[in-house]
């Protein structure tokens, strides 16, 4: 869930480079993010039981902001257990605290240095997609 096309391209590139070839779906604003997740609106035809394994969420999103998206994800028992990684430029402490308060699973400040960016993406991809075992089914 990211609005900046450069960040999208770089993130996808970093995934590809690290051979993380999982299915990746990109949504460009907070409203679309919620529609995708809960299979409503433009995504009404999506199989709503097909939950993402991990969500990368930019904090600054058009329409519905990232923290609001996070709040909705963590509020709904069906999506509450999906790991959410916040990706953002903001180092503001209050953003960090707020995001933890809402139950994000980790928080990564997008580094300006590309190597750090690639590393960050690799590590989080490895961790959440390969190592971290999601609950068998979301707690009802």
């Amino acid at each position: 869930m990211e609005d900046n096309p450069n960040d999208i391209e770089l993130t996808l590139h970093a995934f590809k480079k690290n051979k993380l070839t999982n299915r990746i779906h990109v949504v460009r604003d907070g409203a679309e993010a919620l529609e995708f997740l809960f299979a409503t609106g433009a995504y009404a035809g999506r199989d709503s039981a097909d939950w993402p394994r991990v969500i990368l969420l930019d904090i600054k999103l058009p329409k519905v902001d990232g923290l609001e998206v996070l709040r909705q994800i963590k509020k709904d028992p069906r999506t509450r257990t999906i790991p959410v990684v916040l990706l953002t430029s903001s180092r503001e402490e209050r953003d960090i605290l707020e995001s933890y308060r809402l139950g994000s699973n980790s928080y990564i400040v997008k580094p300006v240095e590309f190597d750090q960016f690639t590393n960050a993406v690799r590590e989080l991809g490895m961790y959440w997609l390969l190592l971290n075992r999601p609950p068998v089914e979301p707690a009802a």
Partner: protein, 362 residues
């Protein structure tokens, strides 16, 4: 006594008429009894109008409760040293008044002086808003500048790593320069962000063991120390009152600078200590035996992004000392350097406020 007030002598009466401040005698019954002409000049009501109604009716509804409490305090015999509320003018606008007042228990009256502080209030509110806007601006700018920098860096790195074979020597070098500059700008933006955040961070002032703060700062700096011989001596450091985290930042930046600019000295020597000035106030200092600087440029040291050395010689963005100065100023203290080219630099600072007890504690 009463006689003197009800029939003032000619001299007092002249002053009363001339006063720019608004003098008032009010009864415990909630009515004004006597007012200077400055009331009419300030609020637009005639004296008769002001005397005819309880004064509470002229006070801003939001300030009535506080005013009632203050008047109640005065009625028990206490003086008001400073109190502020808003009075309604005849044209419907409000003016801020600052008050001093004192009761006469035998007369059941309050003697009070009010001063119109509307202009000051407005100016300080405007200043507060302007500062807030400036901080929001600095934050937004530095925040939003990071995104394009990430893109520049990212795509340049992809070119360098994955298209290296197709690039000629010069092309690779230019791309390296692009990457280097984007990274430098990233650091500038981060530093600007840190600097702007400093102003919004609340300050928690409490007793601080200065020595502990210095030890923590040195711990932070260990990486930059380890790769060459640096002798650090720590003298007497009396405790102080301040924000421990902010003071740690002061020592990290000052000692970090000392280490940086004493590169090339063997050994590099840093001295951290304190002394008492003529007034008994503690002056902390950080001294190095490094490259120093020309005191003619000392006034430039504390500006944001100001540097006295070439970036090829000494890395840095020129924000460290600006941050140090800001922290010292926020503590009500003062900072100044003493230096000579090639003979090291010393930074002295005080922390202001009531630090007198520390002399005893030391």
């Amino acid at each position: 006594m009463t006689q003197e007030i009800t029939v003032p002598n000619e001299e007092l009466s002249r002053f009363f008429r001339l006063s720019i401040d608004m003098l008032a005698v009010a009864g415990f019954d909630g009515f004004f009894k006597r007012l200077t002409p400055s009331w009419e000049r300030t609020l637009g009501w005639s004296e008769a109008e002001l005397l005819a109604r309880p004064y509470m009716e002229f006070i801003h509804p939001d300030d009535r409760e506080a005013t009632l409490a203050e008047a109640g305090k005065i009625a028990t015999g206490l003086d008001t040293i400073h109190f502020e509320n808003r009075y309604r003018c005849q044209d419907g606008s409000y003016r801020w008044l600052a008050w001093t007042a004192s009761p006469s228990m035998s007369e059941e009256r309050i003697y009070a002086v009010a001063r119109d502080i509307t202009a000051e209030k407005r100016a300080s509110e405007e200043l507060r808003l302007a500062n807030q806007e400036l901080e929001a601006f600095a934050y937004t700018v530095s925040h939003d500048l990071r995104a394009p920098l990430r893109a520049i860096n990212g795509f340049v790195q992809i070119l360098l790593e994955e298209y290296a074979a197709e690039l000629q020597g010069e092309a690779r070098r230019y791309l390296g320069l692009v990457a280097g500059n984007a990274q430098l700008m990233g650091r500038l933006v981060d530093d600007l962000l840190r600097f702007s955040r400093l102003n919004r961070q609340p300050m928690r002032r409490q007793p601080v063991e200065t020595r502990r703060v210095v030890d923590r700062a040195l711990e932070q700096l260990r990486n930059s120390i380890e790769d060459r011989p640096v002798e650090i001596s720590i003298g007497q450091l009396p405790p102080c009152r301040g924000d421990a985290n902010l003071l740690e930042q002061v020592f990290v930046n000052l000692v970090g600078n000392g280490i940086k600019y004493s590169r090339g000295r063997t050994p590099a020597r840093i001295e951290i200590g304190s002394r008492a000035d003529a007034g008994g106030q503690t002056v902390y200092f950080v001294k190095d035996n490094g490259t120093g600087f020309d005191m003619n440029y000392a006034h430039k040291l504390f500006g944001v992004f100001q540097r006295l050395h070439r970036s090829e010689d000494y890395e840095g963005t020129g924000v460290g000392l600006a941050i140090v100065q800001r922290i010292v100023h926020r503590h009500g203290g003062r900072i100044w350097p003493e230096a000579e080219v090639d003979h090291g630099a010393t930074f002295f600072f005080t922390l202001g406020g009531d630090q007198t007890w520390q002399a005893k504690a030391a």
